[in-house]
């Protein structure tokens, strides 16, 4: 719960934003939002506690004809500007975590590693996409070169899934030796036995891969190689 003084300040900024929207003063509108963010209020809370009440008040004023259609229309420009500050970006900030993704030999399906790679990118990770039909040793090479925190081996066919133990053995010889092996895709989901046997982690879908790779709160991020 916010202290009363902070609650009051946020309310004041909501009023300031409303006045700025009515006056078609974009810089004053931005200043109101920036003041809130500067005091440590989260973007989400700025949206909920400042922008939403200000827009609601604007709607009320328009409904009561206290502001004209023109003022309502012009306020759209300022709203666009403040939204850019209050809304978090679609792509999460860079985590610095490098993840190697590819489909093992024996599987020419490229769509799943593409989807997994893009889900990881959206979560802010740096993805090394090896594509499909990747030779076993290429996973090790890419992992060593990039300093990867995780290697995701995708397989939608049994033929590709049989490569996992060899890839695990190769990664164990890695120079960095820190990459976590993740097995993803329909073939591993259907038969998870070999996944556990070679010390890999099973991820049934793109969301699960992202959840495994993303550090929990408080976990230190992988440092960038110097």
């Amino acid at each position: 719960m916010r202290p009363a003084s902070e609650e009051g300040r946020v309310n004041d900024e909501a009023i300031a934003l409303y006045r700025a929207l009515v006056a078609d003063d974009t810089s004053a509108a931005l200043a109101a939002v920036q003041r809130c963010i500067a005091t440590g209020v989260s973007r989400s809370e700025v949206f909920e506690s400042v922008i939403v009440p200000a827009l609601s008040a604007l709607g009320e004023a328009w409904a009561q004809r206290r502001v004209s259609e023109d003022v309502l229309a012009c306020s759209g420009v300022a709203v666009d500007q403040v939204m850019a500050f209050a809304a978090p970006p679609d792509v999460a900030p860079d985590t610095g975590i490098v993840v190697v993704v590819g489909t093992a030999e024996g599987d020419a399906h490229a769509s799943f590693p593409t989807i997994v790679g893009s889900a990881l990118s959206l979560a802010g990770h740096r993805v090394v996409d090896l594509g499909c039909e990747v030779p076993d040793v290429a996973f090790l090479k890419a992992s060593d070169e990039s300093g990867a925190a995780a290697v995701v081996v995708c397989a939608s066919t049994d033929a590709a899934a049989t490569h996992l133990p060899r890839i695990a053995r190769l990664l164990a010889r890695s120079r960095t030796g820190e990459a976590r092996l993740i097995a993803a895709g329909a073939a591993f989901a259907a038969d998870p036995g070999p996944v556990a046997a070679c010390g890999a982690t099973l991820a049934r879908d793109a969301a699960a891969v992202s959840a495994i790779v993303t550090p929990s709160a408080g976990t230190a991020l992988v440092e960038e190689p110097s």
Partner: protein, 371 residues
């Protein structure tokens, strides 16, 4: 009953759920020596709806032999080969001939694209779907293109294509009108204005809302109506202002949730707020397929893929004929690496389009009018 009218009787029997009567009529045609292409096509279609694909193909082939210009017979024949499986060479040939015959038939290009994708020719499928989009009956291609974009380019491009596919869809307008009708008694001006929303006349709807608000500035129905009309005009911020005012006056008011949620989805970074809004909408209108679809789309944008899959599955359960719901479910299934199920839902969407959409009957009627 003359042959020309016979298929009308079959159509009525199917529409009334008397599938036994329709199937008996189709059986009769299969064993007869009739040469009427319409009657043969209608019987082939009944066989197709009964999953008797080989018989459907036989009857449709007979119809085409009688009249090489019988467009609906090609649609049935191509669909029958697609459903038989392992007959892509034949179905692709049928679709190609049909497109030569009726180049502006959108549904033919969509189905041709789906056959090309299934045959492992995604590049050609993409081209065919792009040609289908502007044609009448080719709307479903937008969703197919979004799925292909996801499979080939990944989530960022796929989600952008999904949003692009949803933008010309009028389902939100229909959902808004339904939510308004179910939310209690309405002022007569608001009721009239909601009809304008259905017709896509945003200006008239805004004027109706304005007149109502001049009388009662706190009328939540009029505020929501103004919001939806402003949204139709592309004035997202103004729509948000009107809908948020309505939600301040009446929290959880379903029509305003439709407007606010739709406005949130149009802005980057507000997917989380869209999810919260559409969750409220789903609670208010649990039987509305589009409400679940909107929630699923917002969940996908927010990166909450497993929950999106559940919401999309609920949308399909609420309305199995909703092509958008099927496509969003297919999208979520592709993210979960469940390709077979994903494309199965796409083909079920095509089946519903053919059966419930009445494509075959419309084409038969067009032939009758032309003759």
């Amino acid at each position: 009953v003359t042959p020309a009218h016979h298929w009308q009787a079959v159509r009525e029997a199917l529409a009334e759920g008397r599938t036994d009567v329709a199937a008996a009529a189709a059986d009769g045609v299969l064993g007869s020596a009739t040469t009427d292409p319409e009657e043969l096509t209608a019987a082939a279609f009944v066989m197709l709806t009964s999953h008797a694909c080989a018989e459907a193909a036989e009857l449709a082939t007979r119809a085409i032999r009688e009249d090489f210009g019988c467009v609906p017979a090609y649609v049935v024949l191509g669909s029958a080969y697609d459903r038989l499986g392992g007959a892509y060479d034949r179905s692709l040939l049928v679709w190609s001939e049909l497109i030569e015959l009726a180049p502006k038939l959108g549904v033919a290009r969509v189905l041709h694209g789906e056959s090309l994708r299934a045959a492992g020719l995604p590049g050609e499928a993409r081209g065919e779907w792009k040609r289908a989009v502007p044609l009448p009956g080719g709307e479903r291609a937008r969703w197919d293109l979004a799925l292909l974009e996801l499979a080939q380019e990944g989530l960022v491009a796929g989600l952008a294509a999904l949003r692009g596919a949803a933008s010309p869809d009028r389902a939100e307008d229909r959902l808004f009108v339904r939510a308004l009708a179910e939310s209690g008694p309405l002022a007569s001006g608001v009721e009239k204005g909601s009809r304008k929303i259905t017709n896509g006349d945003a200006l008239a709807a805004t004027e109706a809302a304005r007149r109502e608000l001049d009388q009662r500035p706190d009328d939540v129905g009029a505020l929501a109506l103004a919001g939806q009309a402003l949204l139709q005009c592309g004035s997202d911020s103004e729509a948000l202002a009107a809908s948020l005012r309505a939600l301040t006056l009446k929290p959880g008011y379903a029509p305003a949730l439709v407007v606010a949620g739709s406005a949130f989805t149009r802005r980057p970074g507000l997917a989380g707020h869209a999810v919260a809004t559409f969750e409220g909408l789903v609670r208010a209108l649990p039987s509305a397929s589009t409400a679940h679809v909107l929630l699923a789309e917002a969940l996908l944008s927010a990166g909450r893929y497993p929950e999106a899959l559940t919401a999309a599955a609920r949308a399909v359960a609420a309305d199995p004929g909703d092509a958008r719901a099927r496509s969003v479910l297919a999208f979520a299934l592709l993210v979960a690496d469940r390709h077979v199920e994903a494309w199965w839902h796409v083909s079920r969407g095509a089946d519903h389009e053919l059966v419930a959409g009445g494509v075959i009957w419309d084409l038969l009627e067009q032939r009758q009018v032309a003759s």
